[in-house]
């Protein structure tokens, strides 16, 4: 076992892990932050996307010890300070961007990473960016719409709810 320390959602976090402990396991099992979902565990689905030093990564495909000293952001840290949903989360609710909700933490974290680099993405850019986030319920349409709305763009021309 080795000690690992990082900052998670702005707070210092540490614990004892094995070399093979995944970042997703450390977040869920050691810190109790189960909002980071593990869907496929094969780096395909993106339900486990978190930010490490500001970059979107798949937490199931990174070792906890690789995140030593890093700033990690998870879905639990996304809400506003007063506990209300942030603009991306609110847009997912407003535009029905989720059904079962399993992929949603990864979708929101990917959307946040996209909008940080590209504040007004086109629909095509959003679909391209979500290549590594799978949703088996929605057909993606309302997810894309929610992200466009969260970026402050008019979504009235985007068809069918």
């Amino acid at each position: 076992m080795a000690k690992v320390s990082m900052t998670v959602n702005g707070k210092a976090a540490s614990g004892d892990v094995e070399g093979r402990t995944l970042l997703s396991s450390f977040l869920r099992d050691s810190l109790g932050l189960t909002g980071t979902h593990v869907g496929c565990d094969t780096s395909q689905c993106g339900a486990c996307v978190v930010h490490v030093d500001g970059k979107a990564v798949k937490a199931c495909t990174m070792l906890a010890l690789e995140a030593e000293g890093a700033e990690v952001a998870t879905i639990e840290g996304q809400a506003n300070a007063d506990g209300s949903l942030n603009n991306i989360q609110q847009a997912f609710q407003d535009h029905h961007g989720l059904q079962c909700g399993f992929c949603t933490p990864g979708m929101v974290m990917s959307a946040a990473a996209l909008l940080k680099d590209n504040p007004k993405p086109t629909e095509a850019e959003i679909r391209d960016y979500l290549e590594g986030n799978l949703c088996r319920c929605t057909g993606y349409h309302n997810i894309v719409k929610a992200i466009m709305a969260a970026s402050g763009q008019d979504v009235s021309s985007i068809a069918a709810e």
Partner: protein
Amino acid sequence: MYEFEFEKPSTVAEAVAALADEDAQALGGGQTLIPTLKQRLAMPSKLVSLTAIPQLKELSDNGGMLTIGGAVTHAEVAEAAAASYPALADLAGHIGDPAVRNRGTIGGSLANNDPAACYPAAALGSGATIVTNTREIPSDEYFQGLFDTALNEGEIITAVRFPVPEKANYQKFLQPASRFALVGVFVAKYAAGVRVAVTGASEEGVFRWREAEAALDASFAPDALDGLSVDAGGMIGDLHGSKEYRAHLVGVMAKRAVAAAG
């Protein structure tokens, strides 16, 4: 995953020393190695992370020669090479997905030499030089078959040097499920001649299509490739595409790459 120790050295010398242990394995971004370990297809005693070594994160553009450190991520190449070598930046920016590109490294990709990976096509198509902790390996000697390279045990890719071509382009036909290249063709035009490298297609891994290179040397235009074809015999045939289908796609993607390169 089986158990292993983890080390994160900060210099190449420390990494080389750590890799001297029996069954120690270098870890780049882990986007292939970690899934492989999860399937228990490998059992290293120790993983030596190369991502905290400043020397391996360097990237420089020196008068027509782009040098990329072994631990530079695909996302970093996509951004840093956009002006100097746009075809390479475009290739890097379409590997996997954004989260994979934020972790995966050029050194990891080239050391693994997956037969459907994109970077081997760029390195071979550019006549790049693979720089290691002990020597410099021309790309023509580096790729030695499926998942096989000229690297020795414990040898680390410290950098990759790409001569910047007059024009170049990479065209990838996606395998619809994995999104790896079913066939990918990298075409680069240098003063010394045209290079055409093909990934995804061959049972021997990335290869140069020399017949196409000769035709494009004579005339750098898509129709210069009319009538040329690769032998279907050595192509990969699986449920995603027959040998003949892949052989046909090599010609199609090469033409598209020439057209896009201008």
